[in-house]
């Protein structure tokens, strides 16, 4: 019974060990943190909506290995990202560069905010000029 329990516990433990990134961590916690940040910025080309940190596709594992090797070789973040962009294009970056082609992508939040703000300002300005004569809605002051 004890043996059975131990076996089940060991199997459960093995299950836990099957995390996506099975490579050993860096000795230096700062390097490990940097590694984890870099692999969260790179897209898995097979699964598309996952980073290579989240994906267990073999290509993602290979790209993680390359990131590791380049870090060990003393490459900067910029050099690592450039290495990936040279092979897979800007698509591999989760944070696309600000160039003419991506202007709309980067500008869209600002445009939407300005547009929404303009519409809100227009509506509020117009409504505030209306006399509050609706008997069904006496307004905030009357309640």
């Amino acid at each position: 019974m004890k043996l059975l329990f131990a076996t089940v516990a060991a199997l459960l433990w093995m299950q836990l060990a099957l995390a996506i990134d099975t490579a050993p961590a860096f000795d230096d916690p700062a390097q490990q943190a940097r590694y984890e940040r870099v692999i969260r910025e790179l897209r898995c080309l097979v699964c598309r909506s996952e980073t290579i940190a989240d994906s267990n596709a073999t290509l993602a594992a290979d790209l993680r290995r390359q990131v590791r090797e380049m870090m060990v070789a003393g490459k900067s973040d910029q050099e690592i990202f450039q290495h990936m962009v040279d092979r897979y294009g800007d698509y591999v970056l989760y944070k696309p560069p600000l160039v003419a082609r991506t202007l709309l992508l980067w500008g869209a939040p600002i445009l939407l905010l300005l547009g929404g703000g303009a519409i809100a300002a227009f509506v509020i300005a117009r409504k505030s000029h209306l006399p509050d004569t609706d008997p069904a809605d006496p307004g905030l002051g009357a309640s």
Binding site: V46, L59, L63, Y88, G89
Partner: protein, 177 residues
Amino acid sequence: MWRFIIPIGLFAALAAFLFVGLGRDKEWLPSPLIGKPAPVFELPRVDDPAQKISNREFAGRPYVLNIWGSWCVACREEHEVLLEIARRGEIPLIGLNWKDELPLAQRWLQALGNPYVVSAFDPEGNVGIDWGAYGAPETFLVDARGIIVYKYVSPLRIDVWEREFLTRIKQAGAKGE
């Protein structure tokens, strides 16, 4: 008046964006390597791993590089087409055996026939990554200057071969290369 124009305008803009998105093939990524020199590799040969093969040996004439693996179901699907291309003999086919095991790769070529003049063995997958591969099969056309002129992802078909590859090979030939 504006209360109609604004929502309809917004709807039209959204519909236009979504419509453009509908027509795009999201499986197909544009390769940044088109128009750039083909990455040079030197790897063991699949048929004789004691010997090395480099694509430098093919410099000066056009060739096709096909990325395959015995684990790749779609490669099996395209294999007949590759054999047909090899039979026609218009251009040498080089295989890049990507992330495979040697006995499996050798058995594949023995059982299904070998369309390649040579296959390079890339078990680590680094050369495939250098070529920007993300899913086998992928097929590249390299011209006589060593520039990648075209890339096709997914199983090759003979009509695609004739339309996309042969026309480009003939154009390059007509330019006197």
